[in-house]
Symmetry: C2
């Protein structure tokens, strides 16, 4: 009754999701990013624009022809739509810092942690080429992870420009560079030997010396000074040096690791790239990733606008937080169930409306059930308080408040009841 | 570059939208409704199930064939998906009270206030047949409208069952009842004469006496006592009497008006129906509507589950609030821009991170601009405060805080700065 790879989110699931999304949004806001939204679908040719997402993603787009005969596609990420938006609005004050949280759709084979409809939380800066903008987006994502309760994670950093320089040094032709990146990006999957083998098969002429460099991962200073000796144009390495230097001021150095084999799948990246994994939850893959994509916006407009940003994969975050029991003990919702006994329905409704007007989340029996059934219902929904109004209470102008956890009951007037429940 | 009838929501627009959506969600929660979500698309045959939305809406569904050859459709409302969900989950504790806020899609001709992608905010109760559940959903929507600042609105009430009884009294055959409802629902559009004319053309045998009754609108007591004299089965009228009586306890009587010509477009309604218009903004049509739909869930499962609910049309609310200048003066976002002068970038970044960790929404110059340009930028974004760190400030371990509204400047240490900005 429900298509493969998409899901319903019942209230219990939705609460966890909202907990995560609210915390991420709150942090993004504190970093000065402003929320915006783009449509769920775009013209298909916008989504598939040359190099936008790369070949493989085009096959995964949910597409349809509208009644006017135009082809549309559901967005597969937020980067392509925001690039289209920025191109279309050349007069946006720069830098333009926005975040976007919502759903995207990809026709992939569903598996553990992978769905056809899933949430992403993106944060991007448009208009700046300075490394502090790369660091600003990355810091925002790191702060969001910390706010969610993650403390042990690794951020791998690399630079596409540096990779290009390495490829050039190795003698890989420009048109094969993307393919070369894909091979070395497999290091974690297929190991040193596998990568070496594949480089050989594809006839990428990487020297032993250079290969050793590519394998490097860790503190940036030493690796960068080594790499600078090997490559001709030293700018990409110097840019990374600046990046790691300013990272200290941003207070995020402890999480960063230079990883020369990191390339990131999407074709649109042009500069520094990031990938974040949670320690002890590596099987979930990366929970966030991104990088600089200075050429994407020019695909949709006259001007070229530098851009950098990251995306958090919300489903993975949710699964890891579930597995690691990182969610707080949520209180039951609603907070109060009002139970009329005897001829007190009207009074009970009035009280319910009073509590609601005080912003106390209150439900009143809507099924005219007996007290026993109502107590069961309150327990099932883990509603923390029940307020009973019987005819005796009515006479005394009081109500009985029952704490469902302790079983303790009190006879209170309306004023004290509100005070107790607030 | 963007398909017809869908829109981007830049930060300024999104803020208004979030203001509205947050207030609605907050009220729905206070009424004990719990948030949930369903997928953006469903199997097409779920959306077009007999009578689900009625014939006309089927033409408006955005549909597509997935790679597996199954037909999907983007949801056109939340009622059909939630009915499918409730049918699919027969063990949900009842009543099941949920709200859902999000986007739906309809291929309609775009016009003022009507889009192909638009937001709805739904609130529904499943499992109860009692009028207090109709009133519970209606009260939640009325409270949401009041929370948004609306005080002058009219809620038209009618009952499909009563209409059926009127149709039967008039001698309209059962199979023509829906058509009959559609004609009298046009009262506001084509007037008394128009309706009379159309009833004649369609050969609906409505007596002069009954026609006068149908035209009635206003306080329910008198109309219902009149109508009870005319109809055979008096239950639908008595149910309305109960409804209006309990409405007093819910504190919403002042807004309600019985309107015997109200039928509501969608075919799935079976009982009491509602429609809300804002006074002085009638040209926008109804801003919320709904009713009881006791037969919809049985379309998707074995069990029949009674259901009632309403939907708020978010776009119309936004347009009316814009027109009537009902939005508060939002403060600029972010709250602070940190401006380094001279060799103070690192210190400025550290301060920025400190402010952010205190949950103060802070942006730092990412483009290495001069002070003049940065002040312009702050003014353009209406950022309320600028913090300047020059080399003198650095020496004194202080910063200059500038209030952008008053132009007042102060030299403060970090602690006092945070105190001032919180």
């Amino acid at each position: 009754m429900i298509p493969r790879g998409v899901r319903d989110f019942p209230p219990e699931e939705m609460r966890k999701r909202n907990f995560v999304l609210d915390k991420i949004a709150q942090i993004y806001r504190s970093y000065g990013y402003r929320e915006m939204e783009t449509p769920a679908f775009e013209f298909l040719d916008v989504l598939t624009a040359k190099k936008a997402g790369g070949e493989s993603i085009n096959k995964e787009i949910f597409k349809f022809e509208d009644l006017g005969g135009r082809w549309m596609g559901l967005r597969f990420d937020f980067t392509v739509p925001i690039a289209r938006f920025v191109a279309q609005n050349p007069n946006l004050p720069k830098p333009f810092k926005r975040f976007q949280i919502g759903r995207v759709w990809r026709y992939e084979e569903p598996q553990a942690g992978r769905f056809r409809e899933f949430w992403q939380a993106d944060v991007d800066v448009f208009g700046s080429t300075n490394v502090e903008s790369d660091l600003d987006t990355l810091s925002a994502v790191i702060a969001a992870l910390k706010e969610l309760g993650f403390n042990d994670f690794v951020v791998k950093i690399n630079s596409r420009k540096l990779l290009e320089e390495i490829a050039a040094t190795a003698g890989v032709k420009r048109e094969f560079a993307a393919d070369f990146f894909r091979v070395i990006d497999k290091l974690e999957k297929i190991g040193e030997k596998g990568v070496k083998q594949e480089l050989k098969e594809k006839k990428f002429p990487v020297s032993e010396n250079l290969f050793k460099l590519i394998l490097q991962e860790g503190a940036p200073e030493k690796i960068l000074s080594q790499i600078k000796k090997e490559i001709k144009d030293k700018k990409p390495a110097e840019e990374l040096e600046d990046f790691f230097k300013l990272a200290k001021s941003f207070g995020i150095s402890e999480y960063l690791k230079l990883s020369l084999s990191l390339a990131r799948g999407l074709d649109y990246y042009t500069g520094i790239v990031f990938e974040i994994k949670i320690k002890g939850a590596e099987k979930y893959g990366s929970v966030a990733g991104g990088g600089r994509y200075d050429n994407l916006i020019a695909l949709y407009g006259k001007e070229s606008v530098p851009a950098v940003g990251l995306s958090i994969g919300v489903e993975r975050i949710l699964e890891i937080m579930d597995e690691k029991k990182m969610f707080p003990n949520f209180e039951g919702e609603p907070k109060v169930l009002v139970v009329p006994i005897g001829q007190t329905l009207e009074k009970a409704i009035e009280l319910t409306q009073k509590l609601r007007s005080e912003k106390i989340s209150t439900e009143i029996d809507l099924m005219r059930r007996n007290v026993g059934k109502l107590m069961n219902y309150a327990n099932t929904l883990q509603i923390p308080y029940v307020v009973v109004i019987g005819e005796n209470e009515l006479k005394e102008k009081k109500v009985t408040l029952r704490d469902m956890k302790t079983g303790k009951q009190e006879l209170l007037n309306e004023k004290d009841l509100i005070k107790r429940l607030k």
